[in-house]
Symmetry: C2
Subunit: 334 residues, 2 copies
């Protein structure tokens, strides 16, 4: 299996991307194509011993920066690393693309080149949220706004397939993010989506409220991408703030400083649990191909794990399963 | 000043409600009308020495339970404590109503009896969120779904007035909750709201993302009530989960248990900072009268603080200021 890695994408590109790619090639026995500025990539590669690994370079002369507007920039930079990497998947020369660069650009490139799965209008970003039990998958985390009920039904299907194939959970529990538990609560979108989910053959367990997101009662949480994106980023921000406050308070107290020595193991476990890099990137589900989007601040571990996720998604044929699932769902196009 | 307190509303009613009301009457030198089951209230009062306080009872024979559907139940229970308490404000016999009962019912009663301020369609619940700096006010926290841009503009105005009057912050900074910082980011609602806010005379500082909610860069955050409700409850749930995980990990480690002794002061500060009962209830802004909605799990401290907030809102004439602000805003009705 060959994975195309956008070597120029992310805050720590290309150094950490190359490191993570080499580790993944070695640990998972994969072929890796590093896509980007050949000279820079070769310079990074020269720091490592990679003779026994299957590493190649696909040159790309342009880079889409983090702040650039995705759609317009893609047109202006056809030879950007994310575009070239995505094209490798389109041409069948790679089985998946992994990028820690501009999320919008990675998404736009995948939609443009790989196209949406037939019968599905809106690919979605699926993101892992830690929970008290273990974790759950939330989608859409920001690929779409102003969604229709049908889109959320598709998110539920894609999430269920992903969780079943990648996490090995049979008949994953699906919850609809809403502002009340009762069927009659919500906005126009959630009320109509509730009906669709109830009629579907998915394991829909009902509405879940914001306070239950981290409780671990469901495996898949579906919502509009606006709400999902706010939730995802608020979760990052709030847990960051709580740890920041703990640190500040500890700094102010000699006694507390003593306590920290004893609590280091506790904070280490917590940090691991809250650490996005353990989960390895968010798949863009709903396109004809495998595209994994990694956090912009990904270092080697996050990149390695994102490549691992890409490999698992390819191996378990998640894309084919979604295609078949959409057909079986049999919801008429409006 | 006389405050009507729904003595039957909340998980710990009437016991904790009566306790909080007595404390408030004493500390803030207020008249309190306890509204609800006379016999039960008298039984609670008998446990205390309140001879020097201005406490009276307004009997109400019905109670709206937490799970009941607000609008239909209000019609079925015209003599419910929340309805009778709200009517006291309508009739001018009290200057504010405070309830820790069914939020939807408290809101519906206020909308029904006190009516929306002229020119304003959608009253909103304003809730305090702790931040790294101090705190910010988020609205709407769940009174409305499927909002229009004009509604969010009104939320921004009401929030600004509240923060200026109650927290003493001149020209409070207003942020629009969105999925990107750029003006071009967002859904239909946020894009159109951005334009309205930019043209207004409010101190609009732009979009803020989920990760910035707790950073304390703005004083007022506006969003649709669906999003606000998810954010509010997710914040409660996530911080609860983090503390739960810390406790669980500590339980598993003898060494960590020793550390806790030293860290108790740190956790106490954090708990105080994250504790809704310190903030004392969420005002329903936009109705012709003062209605403060307290958390369902309010104990005496939260009730006392909610009554304090009610008093401050009355004293600073927040309602009149909102009325005048809406006129000045001069946005044409659609």
């Amino acid at each position: 299996m060959k994975i195309a890695v956008d070597a120029m994408g992310g805050d720590y590109a290309p150094e950490e991307i190359v490191k993570g790619a080499l580790q993944a090639a070695s640990e998972f026995n994969l072929e890796i194509v590093l896509v980007g500025d050949q000279e820079k990539i070769e310079k990074e590669l020269a720091k490592h011993n990679y003779q026994n690994l299957s590493i190649s370079i696909a040159p790309a002369s342009q880079v889409i920066e983090m702040g650039e507007h995705p759609a317009t920039t893609l047109r202006r930079k056809p030879d950007s690393s994310i575009m070239v990497a995505t094209d490798l998947v389109k041409k069948g020369e790679a089985q998946a693309v992994v990028s820690a660069g501009n999320t919008g650009a990675a998404m736009a490139a995948a939609k443009l080149r790989l196209r949406s799965i037939s019968g599905l209008e809106r690919p979605a970003i699926a993101t892992v949220l830690p929970s008290e039990k273990e974790r759950c998958l939330l989608l859409d985390a920001g690929a779409n706004v102003d969604c229709k009920p049908k889109h959320l039904l598709h998110f539920a299907l894609m999430g269920s397939i992903y969780v079943e194939k990648i996490w090995g959970i049979k008949q994953p529990k699906v919850g609809l993010l809403n502002i009340g538990e009762e069927e009659t609560k919500g906005n126009e979108l959630s009320l109509a989506t509730y009906e669709l989910l109830k009629q579907s053959n998915l394991n829909f367990v009902g509405n879940i409220e914001g306070r239950d997101i981290t409780k671990g009662q469901v495996d898949v949480i579906v919502c509009d991408g606006f709400v999902g994106n706010v939730v995802l980023k608020f979760g990052e921000g709030l847990s960051g703030s709580i740890f920041h406050l703990i640190k500040e308070e500890i700094k102010n107290s000699f006694i507390a400083k003593l306590g920290v020595i004893f609590l280091n193991s506790v904070f280490a476990v917590l940090k691991k649990k809250m650490d996005y890099s353990e989960y390895g990137g968010a798949p863009l589900l709903g396109v004809n191909g495998v595209s994994i989007i990694s956090h912009g601040s990904s270092k080697k571990k996050a990149i390695k794990n994102a490549i691992r996720v890409a490999k698992e998604v390819v191996e378990t044929k998640v894309v084919d399963n979604i295609s078949q699932g959409i057909v079986k769902l049999g919801v008429e196009e409006e």
